[in-house]
């Protein structure tokens, strides 16, 4: 069965410093992987997705993620954090039927 583990429940960075949100997945086949962001009282918004093409995936708002099969990881990064990046981030894996399986989420705080 597919599963995803977000290694940090909370990450705090200063504005202008890099962001790293870690995600490991478990899958018996080549997975579809996604990162979603959820701002307070807002719906989930897709940041980026991996679909077995390029291993380095670029998303919106300067985020990117790298698929590493050998490490079963799909970490989300951004070179320079902005105050507006403060939100909850979810790593998601899709199984063969299209069912989305969410991680527990990582809350990102950005300090001025």
């Amino acid at each position: 069965a597919q599963s995803v583990t977000q290694l940090d429940s909370h990450v705090s960075v200063s504005e202008g410093t890099p962001v790293l949100l870690r995600c490991n997945y478990s899958s018996s086949y080549s997975p579809s992987l996604f990162w979603y962001v959820q701002h307070p009282n807002k719906g989930l918004q897709l940041l980026l997705k991996y679909t077995s093409a390029a291993t380095l995936v670029k998303g919106i708002n300067g985020f990117e993620a790298e698929f590493k099969k050998s490490e079963t990881s799909f970490h989300l990064t951004k070179p320079s954090a902005h105050m507006s990046d403060a939100a909850e981030y979810f790593c998601v894996v899709s199984d063969l039927t299209g069912k989305l399986i969410f991680g527990q989420g990582t809350e990102l705080s950005v300090k001025p």
Partner: protein, 114 residues
């Protein structure tokens, strides 16, 4: 393009009362999902439709929850009777059929059972 529309945004009810949520997916999206998100946790799938057919309802508490998607478009999710533990955000999402397709989410309905 209009996104996924859910109503109501907020609902407060007393326990043992019924409640219903409504979802209008993105036009042309055959797949519709209902998720429940408890505070501080990731969303968990309740039911997934492909057109009118419920293809995955293994996580739906069928003793009190029901859902329907008439004509393969709009969907309703009902709870009867509601319990205190049902307090959560109920999210609707839709996608095109097939693998590697992302789901688009509505803003959710925040249910509080008192």
């Amino acid at each position: 393009e209009a996104g996924v529309v859910q109503s109501p945004r907020y609902k407060i009810i007393e326990k043992k009362q019924p409640v219903a949520f409504w979802c209008n997916p993105i036009s042309g999206h055959n797949t519709l999902y209902w998720y429940r998100q408890n505070l501080g946790q990731g969303p968990e799938l309740l039911i997934r439709y492909e057109n009118e057919e419920a293809v995955d309802d293994s996580q739906l508490p069928k003793d009190r929850f029901s859902a329907e998607r008439l004509k393969g478009v709009d969907s309703t999710l009902k709870i009867q009777p509601a319990e205190l533990g049902d307090s959560a955000v109920y999210l609707c999402a839709s996608s095109q059929q097939g693998l590697y397709t992302e789901a688009f989410f509505g803003q959710g309905t925040r249910l509080t059972v008192v």
